[in-house]
Amino acid sequence: MQDPIQGRAESGSSVSVHFVNNVLAAAASYIEEDPETARDVLAELGAFLSHRLRGPRDISPTEELEHVGVYLRLEQARFPGRIEVELPAARDLPSARILPGDVQAPLSQALGRWLAQKPGTVRVALRARDDALDLQLDRPDEPGEAGERLRIPLGVATAGSVT
């Protein structure tokens, strides 16, 4: 029987070339007018790639949450003012073994879809629920529009909580 972590390794570790190229373009745009921000974007991109390119390995949801935070800051650098973020506290996360990208990849797909649908602000909320994370996306400027909810399971749950 295939190891569930090994089975998810290939898809979870892939990084979107489109995303990387666009982040680099955003970094380039800051170089003249705001070199500190340009440097920060490049440093965050370095952290993002390091997390993903080290290959499949067991990590904690806390590590993945930090990775999600880096990813969202990069998206905010690409789309200033268009993304609001709410992330759970590390202490609320269940203890589990997951792969790098297990949370970021589905979140990225959903956010990309929402950003591409139409202009305006998108709110991304990630909340801890038992052995999973609930991802919710909506448009704060359009309260009448239905949001989207997605449940992201957190791999193999173990007892206890992460501190």
Binding site: V17, H18, N22, S29, Y30, A77, R78, L115, P119
Partner: protein
């Protein structure tokens, strides 16, 4: 083209737009740059003024870049389209909608200038075509997309090869084997069709089995039997059939 280029850059990512605007504004080829953050806004700009080229993102909300490029083809006198995107895989589709060039973000200054040169050539060609045979004598050929999509032997998909990098094509049944700077590729097109498609781009049929890019030829060597050999810049020797020698000499002023 009496002055510098007028360019409309279209991208929903404001930072990417800032970057390309700055690069375009600091190019000696460009006189005027406008920016739009959506295809709809771009259409408003296009309805109010003349632009030589659009630098167009592929992925945008509502109307995507490819859809806008297709729409522009219905214009009587459409601006050239240069795609500027983070999607390297969109190149084949870009050339299917007759884009003049395809740039991947973030673009280098050198690559951008190369695209602008192509835009200038395109504009000059279009102006000469409008002037007609009684015009100023400029070559009346409109520069089109001069790439060909070949089967990628590594990992499937299509690979784009610029005609200028192709040294020659060799007949291989109903297929043609092309030899270019990046290697050899098989093209599912007979040599006779390539001769028609590439004739205006400097290619000449010198033999039943060879179509040659004359820009890559360095020497025409006559043979005692009335045939000739064309020496390419990589020292490849291409046979020239007896019946093609005179026409080739005329074309090369040799």
């Amino acid at each position: 083209m009496s002055s510098g280029l007028a360019i409309l850059a279209v991208d929903d990512e404001p930072r990417a737009l800032t970057d390309i605007k700055r690069l375009l504004e600091t190019s000696a080829s460009v006189e005027r740059v406008a920016t739009a953050t959506s295809a709809k806004e771009a259409l408003v700009y296009l309805s109010g003024g003349r632009y030589d080229a659009l630098f167009l993102d592929v992925a945008m909300p509502e109307i995507e870049g490819m859809a806008l490029a297709r729409l522009l083809r219905r214009f009587a006198d459409p601006p050239a389209v240069v795609f500027l995107t983070g999607h390297p895989d969109a190149a084949v589709e870009a050339f299917e909608v007759q884009a003049l060039d395809f740039l991947v973000k973030p673009v280098t200054r050198e690559r951008l200038e190369s695209a602008l040169t192509r835009v200038e050539q395109h504009v000059r060609g279009a102006e000469a075509a409008k002037a007609g045979p009684t015009g100023d004598g400029a070559e009346a050929t409109v520069t089109g997309p001069d790439v060909v999509a070949v089967d990628n032997p590594k990992g499937g998909g299509k690979r784009l090869v610029r005609l200028e990098t192709i040294s020659f094509a060799q007949a291989n049944g109903d297929y043609a084997r092309i030899v270019c700077d990046d290697g050899r590729f098989l093209l599912r097109t007979p040599l006779s069709q390539l001769e028609k498609d590439w004739g205006a781009s400097g290619f000449a049929r010198v033999h039943r089995a060879y179509l040659v890019n004359l820009k890559h030829a360095v020497e025409l060597r006559a043979q005692l039997n009335g045939t000739a050999v064309l020496i390419m810049r990589d020292d490849t020797e291409i046979p020239v059939a007896r019946r093609n020698v005179a026409a080739l000499r005329r074309r090369l002023h040799a």
